[in-house]
């Protein structure tokens, strides 16, 4: 009798089912290992696949952000605009930002901020070097896909996309 033939005593076996279970386990192990590799590469958050910089066509505006985020976990957006800029610069975040994120911190503090159907608007003072750097720490409050338009007045708009995992 072969090792893998069904026995009927003391238990009734089903080796075909057992073989399928082993095969499913092996597929599962490979899938888990792939998940680990993808995680290390940043497919789920933090890592080379996630961190990215979007730039305007004239390179005057750049946004550093994470393509992938987790619900309730802090994620960062850095908006940079190169000079020369006026004394005060208006930055507009599209409506999807406020519906997807809670702002944890915003540096520098805005001179004026407002919100409406257009999204969120912040008026910042430019730096002493004549450029602007805005650091936003935000916490996604729901999972899903976010497509966001970021506009720096006088410099044009950029579109970025972020996938928030549950």
């Amino acid at each position: 009798m072969d090792d893998f033939d069904n026995r009927i005593y003391p238990i009734q076996e089903d080796m075909q089912f057992q073989r399928r279970t082993w095969a499913a386990q092996r597929i599962g192990w490979v899938a888990l290992a792939a998940l680990l590799v993808a995680g290390l590469a940043g497919l789920f958050f933090h890592g080379p696949l996630s961190r990215t910089i979007a730039r305007s066509t004239d390179q005057s505006v750049a946004i550093e952000y994470e393509r992938f985020a987790h619900k309730t976990t802090l994620t960062h957006f850095v908006i940079r605009a190169s000079g020369p800029l006026p004394d005060q610069v208006l930055v507009r975040l599209g409506p999807s930002f406020a519906s997807m994120h809670d702002v944890d911190s915003l540096e520098p503090r805005a001179v004026r901020s407002s919100g409406g159907s257009y999204g969120l608007e912040f008026l910042f003072a430019r730096s002493s070097a004549g450029d602007l750097g805005v650091y936003i720490a935000a916490r996604p409050k729901r999972f899903g896909f976010m497509s966001l338009q970021v506009e720096v007045e006088g410099r044009g708009a950029l579109n970025i996309a972020q996938l928030v995992y549950p």
Binding site: R7, I11, Q18
Partner: protein, 153 residues
């Protein structure tokens, strides 16, 4: 609603991961296995409760898990093939004193581990004293010794 969905997802994902890991993870508890279970418990706690640590939310999580557990046990009772799928099936790994090496290898078991179980639970010394050894669905190894040991004069 969020709490209940989260609890269901965590329950079934955890079940799936433990089934994928195979029976050896469930059965024999080494110190590493204990650490693993403690870490799994800690990791899932926040996933279950989210940011809501209220008594109400905790009760909802517990109720969801209990209802799911009872529902699955009832389904298993009424649909035996489902029980096979959920729990797995026992498998003979030693037969008439002979280890079934192919099965042991696939189950990631060694003959020494079977002997250890036989020694611990039945005081058996050798493989040929084991009539049957069965790897149970929960990962434990059951040993059926021969009714009387052969005694050489």
């Amino acid at each position: 609603m969020d709490t209940i969905i989260r609890s269901l997802v965590v329950y079934f994902v955890l079940w799936g991961l433990l089934r994928l890991s195979g029976r050896r993870t469930l059965g024999k508890m080494t110190s590493f296995d204990l650490v693993l279970l403690l870490i799994i418990g800690g990791a899932t706690q926040r996933a279950l409760l989210g940011q809501d640590y209220s008594v109400t939310n905790a009760l909802l999580v517990i109720a969801t898990l209990i209802v799911t557990d009872v529902a699955l046990s009832l389904l298993q009772r009424d649909f035996p093939p489902l029980s096979k799928l959920i729990n797995g099936e026992p498998m003979i790994v030693v037969e008439q004193g002979r280890p079934l090496l192919g099965r042991l290898k696939r189950a990631r078991l060694t003959a020494e581990q079977v002997l250890e179980s036989a020694r611990r639970h039945h005081g058996l010394e050798r493989m040929d004293e084991i009539k049957y050894a069965i790897l149970e669905a929960n990962g434990e190894i059951s040993v059926i010794p021969y009714a009387t040991r052969q005694v050489t004069a």
